[in-house]
Assembly symmetry: C2
Homo-oligomer: 335 residues x 2
């Protein structure tokens, strides 16, 4: 057990992803991954009074669904790692409230699914928890009005802009049980190459994805093709192109084994999603839906899940700052 290289942590008792669940909104339910979600809701309010409360309810539902599949109650979960995009991470705090599960609040922006999986797997592997949950989500409507404009304003979007996914995902990690295992994690360093365009998060995050993936490969001695799939979080069309270019300049072609949750969740042309999906719920609902189902069925064996986040706030951008990026990678390996 321990560290290899600068950044990577190997897990001697790799925790099993015993159960997982994904919930999604109407638009996501009309996309290419519609069959992979456990629940698609047609009402943007999810039966609540506000979009913010809907976000919490969605996250809570993903947790409950995943626990149900694992046959666990809240009291069986030793700790939950959760965060989201709302100010003060209110989506997760109010979503977890009432469960009585010991709570570690996180902020990793759109990298939260990987950050929560990393910390949950480290916690389970070390014997600190028998069962730990990793859960996150996002909501298009609450994100738009917090980060950009009121929806009623009807602002135009640039072609590089991404569409915040309405969705949530949860994975339950356990010491015992059957299922794909998390074998090592590579937490990310903050990388900021000076991008200031808030409508081009892919460009801001791609260098962080490259940095973490490059460290993962050099720390572990694995070549990219060790994996069946290198799955970035939400680089979208622009960021994915930049990431592949950066590897290509190092003499490595990852095009054949790389995909991005932001490219998978929407039909960009038919669904008007511009450069693709984004948000904590993007990588959470794609991983805990489509990808984990394929791993469970044996269609995918080894996946390097590398969720990406942009760590700016509207205030820092208004104060002239550039956008710091981060990427956390988690190695998931099936039987």
């Amino acid at each position: 057990m321990g560290r290899i290289g600068r950044q990577t942590i190997t897990l001697d008792n790799p925790p099993v992803i015993q159960a997982f669940a994904a919930v999604a909104g109407k638009k996501e339910g009309e996309g290419p991954l519609s069959d992979s979600f456990d629940l698609v809701f047609q009402d943007s309010f999810f039966g609540q009074e506000t979009w913010e409360k809907a976000e919490s309810a969605m996250l809570n539902r993903a947790l409950a669904l995943a626990l149900g599949k694992a046959g666990l109650d809240y009291k069986d979960v030793d700790c939950v790692f959760s965060g989201d995009l709302l100010n003060q991470c209110a989506g997760s705090a109010f979503g977890i409230r009432g469960t009585d599960i010991p709570f570690f609040g996180l902020y990793g922006a759109c990298s939260t699914m990987a950050e929560s999986l990393a910390l949950a797997s480290m916690t389970v592997s070390a014997g600190y928890a028998n069962n730990a949950a990793a859960v996150t989500g996002s909501h298009f409507c609450s994100a738009e009005r917090q980060f950009r404009m009121p929806l009623e304003y009807g602002g135009q979007r640039t072609p590089t802009a991404q569409w915040t996914v309405t969705g949530a995902g949860c994975a339950v990690l356990s010491r015992q049980g059957a299922g794909p295992k998390i074998t090592c994690v590579t937490p990310g360093r903050i990388v900021d190459l000076g991008i200031k365009d808030l409508s081009n998060m892919g460009a801001a995050m791609a260098p962080a994805a490259f940095d973490t993936l490059y460290s993962h490969f050099s720390d572990t001695g694995r070549a990219p093709d060790y994996y069946d799939l290198i799955l970035t979080g939400d680089l979208g069309l622009v960021g994915s192109g930049i990431l592949r270019d950066m590897f290509y300049r190092e003499g490595v072609n990852i095009s054949g084994i790389h995909n991005d949750c932001g490219l998978m969740i929407f039909d960009r042309e038919k669904q008007d999603a511009h450069a693709g999906g984004s948000g904590c719920g993007c990588s959470a609902s794609v991983l805990c839906g489509e990808i984990m189902r394929k791993m469970r069925q044996g269609g995918l064996k080894k996946v390097l899940f590398a969720a990406t986040g942009a760590l700016m706030s509207p205030v820092t951008s208004m104060q002239g700052e550039s956008i710091p990026g981060i990427c956390c990678a988690v190695s998931i390996e099936g039987e």
Copy 2:
């Protein structure tokens, strides 16, 4: 290594708090703990253009000062756990940017110093890191305008209101070295008894503090007087009174061994701090200043550090929600 009871995690290889540092603003530097800070700055901008940038700079300085005392460079630190109160935790993201230390972003509101210590100590004890840093801070001016009113408005404060501390603290945890050790941690559950008054955070957080402390004592079998000091984060005058009352109703008198960072940092009468200090920087600068100095000198042997946080946001409060509280406890024991 492992769990005891519902919530507590025992650390088989208790990490050493090898170094610590606290920085503080002018008002804090005029208070009772003025001699315990490594650096007191007179300029609320800390040489920056904005208060938000000052907050990041302050946090970065606390990290650099603590590493300097430990004789470590950024590259020697395997990971840093950090968070703050600013939207999207921008204070920590921009404060850590440029260090190239693998980063785990947290949101625990004012409980962040304990949450970061808990996760850092779990990470070091498990062998995932040789050195890990826990760092957080807050700034009165950035907090006021984000959570309450523009300072220029000159709003009146109620007697139950607390004063956000301008300050930061950092602790460096290591597998080797001399110093007080973190022996176990009790992460908190979210507790919400329905308090909605944003000017009375102490009342909202006290039940969470009671819940975590009560769990800690029942999980470990330790009586409160096992410790020389039970140090809550920032309950202030109102919350501290409620906490003591709650224990008293259980037949336990903690008055003699309980203190609160929010009560220690200001002279409430002379410094117009109403119910006391608050903010991530409150418990961070008190722990990483006064308390750790006393532990290092042998004046304190066993401290249960239980930082408290209020997990609401201005939006959730405007939407009629109550204030969820949380408290994370960390047991620190000297030679």
